[in-house]
């Protein structure tokens, strides 16, 4: 198992290098000039002043030099660079924002599991009944409704109809648990609904396959109770594709938090990434994307490792 993990980590290094090159290039292709964005609104700025400021921020060096400087800092000093706007190390900003996104993503995942597993199971076990149709309709709706639209509607109509809105701002859980749950629940539900739609459909599909297997027929024939057959025998064997899909959806969850964090005014990594792209804060954007890449690689590895828990036949060598 340890060798498998180490091998996987080594194999991920080329992917990370590729991501670093892509993000370094792409962020500089975004239209606009970060220097003008910072000081240009005063009106006309002389070319010499622009150059002076550019040199101060280290943006006058050739691109390859800037890239190597950044990579060198990251690999040998664990320094992801400093914000072009505040001058602060960008890692500090990620550390501040990470708990918000982590909590939001975790809650969304839990809600999606809470929704998708029961709906998927009901849909498969009660195939072609009103319950099945209802579950499938809920799943299709979840896939069809854009989360930014749903989030905006939730905000607008809760304010109009119920004269209520989650407390705006950020209340850390350990400072104010109640306030924290109020802030995160609605955005997590919005995100979780979409995630659960995929999970519901996949659960239904895999459960239908597994329920047709001979060993399940044998279990019924032996007179086992329904709960035993469904949960103990069928569900466990149906979970591997579901976990694969849900693990993949986590990547989209990281992206989905960008919009939801903006709508619900949560100061997470998603919003930080959006702001840093708009402000042309290259080091911050690069750091955020690299961080997301590392998280995705780690998540994929964790998902793969959980397979052996569901299927003891799977071994890692």
């Amino acid at each position: 198992m340890h060798r498998y993990i180490i091998r996987r980590l080594i194999y991920s290094l080329p992917a990370l290098v590729g991501v670093s090159i892509l993000v370094f290039m792409m962020v500089r292709l975004v239209p606009g000039d970060v220097i003008l964005a910072q000081i240009g609104e005063a009106g006309y700025i002389s070319e010499s002043r622009l150059q002076e400021f550019r040199a101060q921020l280290g943006l006058d060096a050739p691109f390859h030099e800037q890239y190597l400087r950044w990579m060198g800092g990251m690999l040998f000093k664990f320094d992801l660079g400093k914000s072009l706007w505040t001058g602060e190390p960008v890692i500090e900003e990620i550390k501040r924002k990470l708990p918000v996104t982590a909590e939001l993503a975790l809650m969304a995942l839990v809600i999606s599991i809470f929704l998708s597993l029961p709906l998927g199971i009901i849909s498969a076990v009660r195939r072609d009944t009103p319950l099945d149709y209802f579950s499938r309709m809920v799943a299709i709706s979840g896939l069809s409704l854009p989360d930014f639209w749903l989030g905006t509607l939730v905000v607008v109509f809760s304010a109009i109809w119920f004269k209520w809105l989650p407390p705006i701002g950020y209340l850390p859980f350990f400072d104010d648990p109640w306030g924290n749950i109020q802030q995160f629940l609605l955005p997590a539900v919005v995100l979780g609904v979409r995630l659960s739609a995929v999970g519901t459909r996949m659960t239904r599909s895999t459960m239908l396959e597994v329920l047709r297997e001979d060993y399940i027929r044998t279990a019924w024939a032996k007179g086992l109770r329904e709960r035993m057959v469904i949960v103990r025998h069928a569900l466990k064997n149906a979970m591997i594709p579901v976990i694969t899909i849900m693990g993949g959806q986590l990547r989209f969850l990281l992206g989905g938090t960008v919009i939801i964090e903006s709508i619900f005014a949560l100061p997470g990594v998603g919003r930080l990434t959006l702001d840093s792209i708009i402000k042309l804060d290259y080091p911050q954007t690069q750091a955020n994307v690299m961080f997301a890449a590392v998280v995705v690689i780690a998540l994929n590895l964790i998902v793969d490792l959980t397979y052996s828990w569901f299927d003891p036949r799977i071994r890692y060598e």
Binding site: I160, L165, Q182, V189, A265
Partner: protein, 584 residues
């Protein structure tokens, strides 16, 4: 069957119901609503005459003159964080609002409940008076006494001196990449004869120069703090009415009252009346309005009559203000490029536009037409006078005049002209609407417009402010300053770095130079009017209707909240917030 179904009662249904019940517990409110009713506003009641109500709105309703109540926390909803707090490193609009809370300037535009919102009048701030030398070059300022820095390290409440002002100006001029350096280009020297006297000598006389010192940018900051921190990006210790507490990035900026502020309120004690102020960051516009509806913030805005009415139906006591725009929107090319260099072409474009249609379809029926590049209140006594046909000239009309436009195009010899029109999506759907409307109108006189949507930074700072675009651009004029000279000389003189259109006219050069040195306000206004007459005739810029259908909202118990029309939360925010109090 029943037994089978029972255990299938989805546990998630139970959890979902519980969650909704728990989550819908009332959120924290900034405080109870209500309080004594403020003095009744004049004008129609929105319930019985909504149109009349909308038309009667002003930016400065009568001030509440009852004794103010001290205390409370004002929560202001803002769309974006400031990038940082160093005046020598940015001039971003969100940063301005913060600076005005914590800093002062030597001079400042009159704002708040005591000011006429349509007059940009220079008033005192850290300077209590000034005199001018006979040659018009040297200004001697006497400073307010007893002004103290915030009682925080490293200043620890020491008294402000003239040396602090000199330091600030020199830092703003000389810091690498300072966006405010140009403000001090006209300054020959700054002297400090004593702790409460400052002398600024200009290279040549300029009646408009003082306004630059009261403009958006030159905030007075402290040497000790710069030496301690290296820069002021994350620190703010000033002399302003509020003291910076901390900045929770992406969440809010926290301020508390400066107990040692030098200006006194109506009750003889020091301003401000509020105990604290929170600048809460809410990026999404719908969420900001929702936060206002649910009393989580004290301010809001509603775009369009329908939204305004809906808000008032749910919050009948909400206060509403509105104002005419002070600077305009224009469609313009550069005078050293064909076909914009041809006055007949420019006049034809202006006549071909259906501004009534734009007003009704894009701006909800409420729009104002700027006569020229010089803000109207430097020229006219009221917006109504500014929009009379004789003020707008022969070539700027609300209604379309295709016959005249086609005649001019034929005279100029232009047929089947293809033009790019640069717009930016960051200006929103109204600009997209005006661009589309212009395209439709100009097609009728043989001009084929291709609309090119451009990123804002490239558009505004890379093209417009650099004076580098081909064909035509659709842009806000932008707040280029608070003095007529910033617009007259700034936009029109051949030698000005802000002459984005490359206008070169000996007559305009003569007049713009003359208004710079004319000390008599009436004579100066006459010169500005002569300039305006040339501008409306030559149509260097084609002016578009600019709407005023975004209404500023305030909770019913907030007293004396004002925003200056053109700057909103810009440089008038802090000076206005000094006078705000909460009636609860």
């Amino acid at each position: 069957m029943q037994r089978r179904i029972r255990w299938f009662i989805p546990p998630f249904l139970v959890a979902l119901v519980l969650s909704i019940a728990l989550a819908c517990a009332p959120a924290a409110q900034p405080g109870p609503q209500g309080g004594d009713q403020q003095p009744a506003r004049t004008g129609p009641d929105w319930r019985s005459d909504f149109e009349g109500f909308v038309k009667s709105l002003t930016p400065n309703p009568p001030a509440d003159t009852r004794p103010p109540k001290r205390g409370g926390t004002y929560i202001y909803a803002a769309a974006a964080d400031p990038p940082h707090f160093d005046p020598a490193g940015t001039i971003s609009w969100p940063a301005h609002a913060q600076w005005t809370l914590g800093y002062n300037r030597l001079l400042a535009m009159k704002t708040g409940i005591k000011a006429d919102p349509y007059k940009w009048e220079l008033g005192t701030d850290l300077a209590k008076s000034w005199t001018v030398s006979p040659d018009g070059k040297t200004y001697t300022f006497k400073m307010q006494e007893g002004v103290k820095w915030h009682n925080k390290p490293p200043l620890n409440g020491r008294e402000l001196t003239s040396a602090d002002i000199k330091y600030s100006y020199e830092r703003l001029k000389n810091s690498p990449g300072s966006p405010q350096a140009a403000t001090f280009d006209e300054v020959a020297s700054i002297e400090t004869p004593d702790n409460h006297t400052l002398q600024i000598t200009l290279k040549s006389p300029s009646v408009g120069y003082l306004a630059k010192l009261g403009s958006l940018f030159p905030y007075i900051h402290a040497k000790e703090l710069v030496e301690l921190k290296g820069d002021l990006k994350l620190s703010l210790v000033g002399t302003g009415p509020f003291m910076f507490e901390n900045w929770e990035r992406g969440v809010q900026v926290n301020w508390k009252r400066n107990p040692d502020y030098w200006e006194k309120g109506e009750d003889g004690k020091s301003l401000p009346y509020l105990e604290a102020l929170i600048f809460r960051i809410i990026p999404d516009e719908s969420t900001r309005l929702a936060a206002f509806r649910t009393n989580q913030v004290h301010n809001g805005s509603a775009t369009g009559r329908d939204t305004l009415k809906a808000v008032l139906e749910s919050l009948p006591d909400a206060q509403v203000t509105n104002s005419f725009p002070e600077v305009g929107i224009h469609l313009s090319g550069q005078l050293d490029q064909q076909p914009w260099s041809d006055v007949r072409f420019r006049r034809a474009v202006s006549l071909a536009l259906n501004r009534q249609k734009m007003r009704d379809s894009v701006w909800d029926g409420l729009a104002f037409l700027t006569p020229s590049a010089i803000p109207w209140f430097f020229l006219f006594d009221s917006p109504e006078e500014a929009n009379k046909p004789e003020s707008l000239g022969r070539y700027q009309k609300w209604e379309q005049d295709l016959d005249q436009a086609k005649k001019l195009m034929a005279e100029a010899g232009y047929t089947n002209v293809k033009l790019k029109l640069y717009n930016t999506p960051q200006y929103g759907v109204t600009f997209a609407g005006m661009a589309a409307s212009s395209k439709e109108d100009l097609a009728k006189i043989g001009i084929d417009i291709e609309i090119i949507e451009t990123d804002y930074t490239k558009f505004y700072t890379g093209m417009y402010l650099q004076g580098k675009w081909d064909n035509v651009i659709l842009s806000h004029q932008g707040n280029q300053g608070i003095e007529a000279d910033d617009y007259a000389y700034g936009h029109l003189h051949t030698g000005s770095s802000r002459n984005f259109w490359h206008i070169s006219s000996p007559e305009l050069d003569r007049l713009t130079e003359a208004q710079r040195v004319e000390a008599d306000p009436k004579k100066r206004r006459d010169i500005l009017r002569q300039i305006n007459t040339i501008l409306v005739d030559q149509v260097y810029q084609v002016w578009m209707p600019k709407g005023y259908s975004t209404y500023t909202l305030s909770q019913g118990y907030v007293r004396n909240f004002r925003t200056n029309p053109s700057t909103g939360t810009g440089f008038s925010f802090g000076p206005n917030m000094k006078y705000v109090w909460l009636d609860k």
